[in-house]
Symmetry: C2
Subunit: 136 residues, 2 copies
């Protein structure tokens, strides 16, 4: 497995402490995180990275294709991994968001894109509803 620094290097990014910290959090997270999430997560372990800097780092990561941001803005983001498709299961009750990968769905979406003359660089799906534990 590639080191954090090597990943930054591969993507043509300077190897700074803040970037290593943010990238590490993203890589270890099992679910998408917002800028605030990342900031809070680091603060909790006394590794402070200014929130403004987190915004700027994520923008950079996105520019080079290291992460993707989701629908209607830039709130959620997660590492692209192995072309797996990103499906978010978002519970309206408790707020938990889980991430799923599904290769087949991915292919289906690519067909839709082709049909529409659209050229996707990434994609995200979200199911909104109730998670197992909140389903009364």
């Amino acid at each position: 497995m590639k080191s954090i620094s090597a990943i930054l290097d591969t993507h043509g990014l300077r190897d700074t402490q803040s970037r290593r910290l943010v990238l590490k959090v993203l890589m270890q997270s099992k679910k998408p995180l917002s800028q605030k999430d990342i900031h809070a997560c680091l603060a909790k372990e006394d590794r402070v990275v200014n929130l403004v800097t987190v915004y700027r780092i994520l923008e950079k990561f996105r520019d080079v294709g290291l992460i993707h941001h989701s629908a209607g803005g830039v709130v959620f983001c997660s590492l692209e991994q192995a072309d797996g498709h990103h499906v978010l299961l978002s519970c309206e009750e408790c707020g938990v968001i889980e991430e799923y990968c599904d290769e087949e769905l991915c292919k289906h979406e690519d067909r839709i894109a082709k049909r529409a003359g659209f050229f996707p660089t990434s994609h995200v799906s979200e199911l909104i509803g109730r998670c197992a534990s909140c389903h009364f």
Copy 2:
């Protein structure tokens, strides 16, 4: 086709002028709209509905299942229609967002939900990339 007022009634909502205006805009739009979009759209035709009110109306519409809001917050929304699946094609270059319906994708996502023990009430997919006219 049902009248605007009848739709409100069906969903147990009071039939107010502001709600009729907002609902009409949503129904006539071919793409998802933000609260600000709706407000601006109405303002342009001199039918002012306070932006705060637009927020509150959309929240109500959502409560009763008239619309759904998308990923990572509440920015985009569009009318649920005939169980068609909502696929957004979002151009990173020019910002245009188009909406697509795809029944098969919808079913596939339902299977994923079942597998994960998740109970979806709505869902949205987004393809991020370049639209036909921005593809250099």
